[in-house]
Amino acid sequence: MGTAIALKGVQKVYKANRRRQSPEVKAVDDVSLEVNRGEFFGLLGPNGAGKTTTLGILTTRVLPTGGVALIEGLDIARAPVAVKQRIGVVAQVNNLDRNLTARENLLFHARYFGVPKIEREQRADRLLARFELEGRANEKPDAYSGGMAQRLKIARALMHEPAILFLDEPTSGLDPQARRTLWELLIELNKSGQTTFLTTHNMEEADQLCGRVAIMDKGKLLAVDTPAKLKQGVPGGYLIELRGRAPEATTLALASMLRTLPEVVEVSVTDDLFRLYAGHAEGLLAKAMHLASAQGVMITNAHVAEPSLENLFLHLTGRSLEQ
């Protein structure tokens, strides 16, 4: 084992800009975190949570305004070149070199890192085969599908055998099949020992891939643990959502009645949405609907959700990840 990534009270504050009329923004607000070698770690949060800024700090592209960030024990702000030697980065946008063929993309990347000729050619061939790109290796990547471009970007990031692989929203914009393929690939890589750090706003992605997940919102870390333990953090585990409009007094009365139902741990109301956190969902929906109609509240929509990271995020912030 050993620590691969360490963040200690890291901050990134963008000062207010009068000319652009932008207020002061704390993109990353006092984040502390440790990731061990060999881990598959996920940073989960909605768009604008500060995930990409955090990744930028870890990959030398963003200078923190406070705190210390270490990669393999090296201070990123002080030794960026040594840090760059140790990391491979897959950005969210397609930043492949459009003037080079796919194979050249890999070979030149390895040359930047001083990988000797024979070795880089062997590695390129191996990665192209493994990522099923060898058939179109001598094409420029402009005509690649989203999934292929993403696979090539990952292959490129692996060409210098980095200690840590960083991926920013690796499957956003991919169709479900390409997403599956990529997930399998990333799991396989991690199994072979590749320390991996990814950001995502897709809770399924975090749940399926990551050994540990940090939940981030508005620049702050809200929780860090294994997906299983995080899901246990949702009161009860199950979530029942009911939508129905009624006068405020009726709504409050219904909410307090819902709290008395067996297995219900917590009830929250926002506007016309009732959220019931419960230890068990079976039969509860029918009981809740019955109570509602007895109170004269017309339920227009009902939804039962299993324990999930999405529920946890909802519980922690009152907002959905997709919002």
Binding site: R61, I87, Y112, F113
Partner: protein, 256 residues
């Protein structure tokens, strides 16, 4: 400085430039060749310009092609890579300092500018033919002027390429290049501006003046030109100034 990385980056940029030789030739050669044709071939035959005007013109044309190619070789790819394709990101993650990467961009500009000069010089010579009387007394002066001019305008290209977005770069180059070319002593020698004293002083802020006069001093030493100390000193000063500004702007763009 990491030389392996630097060489690999240079190799990548030159490989890409080589694949674009036709566009490179047009970008670099078209304007100087048209000028050479009209001023150096057509007008002398019409008797509109004096016969040895071509001797004054050729150094200016050479300075101009180096200016255009150096600036564009650096600025245009950078504008796209920073603002549009984000391709620069992979190279920003290469194990080299940000200044090292920026200097590499200047080197690429210098190489392309020198190549442009080597293409334009013999072509212009061919077109102007008999009338031309070039005399290189001091080859080191020619080399020094070529290198300094190439560096100067590549560094200026770095500054423009990191300051301008894809939407503004066309306008920016137009606004900058037109006055720079017309006030750059490319088509007339600086010494003869003595007829309009205020103008002779005003053009001194234009770095192209020193490149044009530098090539006059190196290729046609017998014709009137600026004193050497002023030429070389100013070229060198502008090099330092634009390199400093360019590196600063590059870093600002590369790191948040």
């Amino acid at each position: 400085m990491n030389t392996t990385t630097m060489v690999a980056l240079l190799h990548r940029d030159l490989l890409v430039a080589r694949r674009e030789i036709p566009t490179f030739m047009m970008r670099v050669g078209l304007q100087p060749l048209l000028f050479t044709f009209i001023f150096g071939f057509v007008m002398p035959r019409q008797g509109l310009v004096v016969h040895n005007y071509t001797n004054l013109l050729l150094p200016g044309i050479l300075a101009l092609s180096i200016t255009l190619s150096g600036m564009q070789a650096v600025a245009l790819p950078l504008v796209l890579e920073f603002g549009f394709t984000k391709e620069i990101e992979d190279r920003l993650l290469a194990p080299i300092s940000i200044s090292g990467l920026a200097l590499e961009k200047i080197f690429v500009g210098v190489i392309q500018a020198i190549i442009a000069g080597l293409i334009v010089l013999p072509l212009a010579w061919l077109l102007m033919g008999r009338a031309l009387d070039l005399r290189v007394v001091d080859p080191f002066l020619l080399i020094a002027v070529s290198l300094l001019s190439s560096w100067l305008f590549s560094a200026l290209g770095l500054l423009i390429g990191t300051m301008a977005g894809p939407q503004q770069v066309g306008l920016m180059l137009n606004l900058l290049l037109s006055p720079m070319i017309f006030f750059g002593c490319t088509y007339y020698p600086w010494a003869m501006l003595a007829v309009i004293p205020w103008f002779q002083i005003a053009v001194l802020i234009n770095p192209l003046v020193y490149a044009s006069e530098g090539f006059r001093a190196a290729l046609t030493p017998d014709l009137p030109h600026m004193p050497l100390w002023l030429i070389l000193g100013s070229l060198f000063g502008f090099c330092i100034f634009f390199t400093w500004l360019g590196l600063r702007s590059f870093k600002k763009r590369a790191i948040d």
